[in-house]
């Protein structure tokens, strides 16, 4: 039996650490979600200490479920994650196909392409929302202003001027508004994670069976049918990996949301929890439990999908 002891001992520290990490804070969250617990209350000072006597049962959960912000946050979380997944997979595939042949400077192209992946999320958000997307001072504002003055200039032209007079003045878009800031978040995260998808698809494309492709060419298969029937099935597993890893990271997206849309209503679950937690710990914890449930649904789905193939 001694030889089963050693592998167990080797795994023990990792398993123990993760077990404590999972169980201790999570059980506290469960406890807090079942009691009335606020940080400041002049009327009910007894609620400011966590104790069993403030038992509220499922009241916090009911409060959260009846709160419109919660549903907005859920819808927004899913919308943001799904948009990013679709965009990065499509862009990643297109770019990987594009650079999957040798040409002058391919090494440099790869270095340039991968760079956004290394940018820290906080910098990514600050950079995009200020210097690129700002409607007045950012490149967006400057570009829109330049277009407008160009069209203005063209209006004075003899005959063509009548045509340009019909053109509307362009309005820059403010990405700090509730309706648009989700798009800003999608844009910046897609920029950061497309390189990741490109790298994985590229690695996979390089191992594609060339002889099979050549046979298909000889049989007169079109480029499109070669792509659909040979390349896409070959990429199924890398696509699954890209989707899984990104889901893990994007469900807990925070820095981008906080910097882009502080307080304007464009929230996701982690951000909403943060908002509640500024005072109402009970509600924040209940929302946290919902977030755990949502993450688990996604996790089960994803791990089923690829867990088996990863073990082979």
């Amino acid at each position: 039996m001694a030889n089963r002891m050693i592998p167990r001992l080797l795994q023990a520290p990792a398993v123990a650490l993760l077990l404590v990490w999972m169980i201790v804070p999570l059980s506290m969250t469960i406890f807090f979600s079942l009691i009335r617990y606020v940080l400041n209350s002049s009327n009910r000072p007894e609620w400011t200490t966590p104790s069993l006597s403030n038992w509220r049962g499922l009241g916090n959960f009911q409060y959260v479920l009846e709160n419109d912000d919660f549903w907005v946050a859920i819808a927004n979380s899913l919308m943001i994650v799904c948009s990013i997944l679709v965009l990065t997979v499509i862009l990643g595939l297109a770019i990987a196909m594009l650079i999957n042949r040798s040409f002058a400077g391919r090494g440099i192209v790869r270095v340039l392409l991968i760079s956004p992946f290394f940018v820290m999320p906080a910098v990514n958000a600050v950079l995009w929302i200020n210097m690129i997307l700002d409607p007045v001072l950012g490149l967006q504002g400057i570009a829109v202003g330049a277009m407008n003055s160009m069209v203005d200039g063209l209006r004075d032209f003899p005959i063509l001027g009548h045509f340009f007079a019909l053109w509307p003045q362009l309005e820059p878009i403010s990405f700090r508004a509730a309706q648009t800031s989700a798009y800003a978040v999608i844009m910046m995260v897609t920029w950061q994670w497309t390189p990741f998808a490109v790298l994985i698809f590229m690695t996979s494309l390089q191992s594609e069976d060339e002889s099979q492709k050549e046979a298909a060419i000889l049989d007169g298969a079109s480029a499109w049918s070669r792509f659909i029937n040979l390349t896409v099935p070959h990429l199924a597993r890398p696509i699954a990996i890209v989707v899984m890893i990104q889901s893990i990271f994007h469900l807990s997206l925070y820095a981008e949301i906080e910097i882009v849309s502080r307080g304007n209503g464009n929230t996701n679950l982690p951000y909403l929890i943060g908002e509640f937690a500024s005072n109402n710990i009970g509600a924040a914890s209940a929302t946290g439990i919902f977030a755990v449930i949502l993450a688990n649904i996604v996790a089960i789905f994803l791990l089923r999908m690829i867990g088996k193939s990863l073990m082979d």
């Binding site: 650490l17 391919r106 192209v109 290394f118 200020n130 890398p238 893990i248 807990s252 993450a295």
Partner: protein, 278 residues
């Protein structure tokens, strides 16, 4: 036949040009950040100085003097290095046991480990703050940041190492056992030299994730153990008043990682695919 050659010649020009264009578009925001960091705050928001301006190092000097950049950078470096080292020290033996001595439960343990990564940080933030502030007294210490960085990256470290170790023929390890090598000897003298490339890419990726981490490091620190993420979050200027300064701080925060990433591109590609894409 001639038509076909013409078409493919054209293709030889168009595709590389398109690839270059895409690469430049993707790199542009980073270039723009570095470019803006050499403008004064006033020049940075003037359209007439969009491309032509007198470059200045003022922002970098200012940053070193007023923002205490080096303290944040040192904290980032210390916590990332230690967290990476510790997660490797914990992860290598675990992944070794899972890869070469798997039991019926190994797969479940691996999947469970990855599922802890899906636990939303926000859900357990308050308990963590509560515990570390009120009971353990380790809030805003390097120890806490290192511990948390370790814990959030451990699942990925073990997964990556596991996929690399599985590539090593079992016979090599078995042969070591026959020769009476101890477990420690097997890890040190056989496994680590054989899987060196995989371990290096795991370390690199973990280091990058630690450096860029922005949720826990911002929320579990105030001053003493605050990292570069905290510096950026704290200094985002409202409505573009300080584009020059902001660019300089941002450039200084991401430059070390981008340069590191460039040098280790090949290993990273391997690491990122979790060894699952060949």
């Amino acid at each position: 036949m001639a038509a076909v050659t013409d078409r493919s010649k054209l293709g030889h020009l168009i595709w590389p040009a398109l690839a270059w264009a895409v690469a430049i578009v993707f790199f542009f925001p980073i270039f723009w950040m570095v470019f803006t960091s050499f403008k004064t705050d006033a020049d940075a928001v003037k359209p007439e100085h969009l491309l032509f301006f007198t470059p200045t190092l003022e922002n970098y000097v200012n940053m070193a003097q007023n923002y205490d950049y080096w303290r944040f950078a040192t904290n980032s470096a210390i916590t990332s290095v230690f967290a990476t080292m510790i997660s490797l020290i914990v992860g290598i033996p675990a992944a070794y046991a899972m890869a070469f001595d798997p039991s019926a439960k190994t797969k479940d343990i691996l999947v469970w480990m990855l599922s802890t990564k899906m636990l939303p940080a926000a859900a357990v933030l308050y308990p963590m703050t509560f515990l570390t502030k009120n009971f353990l007294g380790i809030y805003d210490t390097h120890f806490l940041v290192i511990l948390v960085l370790c814990l959030i990256n451990l699942p990925i470290v073990i997964w990556m190492l596991f996929t690399y170790f599985k590539e090593i023929p079992k016979e090599i390890i078995e042969a070591g056992k026959m020769d009476g090598v101890t477990t420690w000897g097997e890890i040190k003298d056989i496994l680590i030299p054989l899987a060196w490339g995989g371990i290096a890419s795991t370390a690199l990726l973990t280091f990058i994730f630690c450096w860029n981490e922005a949720y826990w490091t911002v929320r579990l620190t105030t001053i003493d153990a605050a990292t570069l993420s905290k510096l950026i979050e704290g200094n985002r200027a409202p409505e573009g008043l300080f584009f020059g300064r902001l660019s300089a701080v941002s450039t200084a925060a991401v430059a070390p990682i981008i340069v590191l990433g460039w040098f280790c591109q090949k290993q990273l590609v391997q690491g990122l695919t979790f060894g699952a894409v060949k």
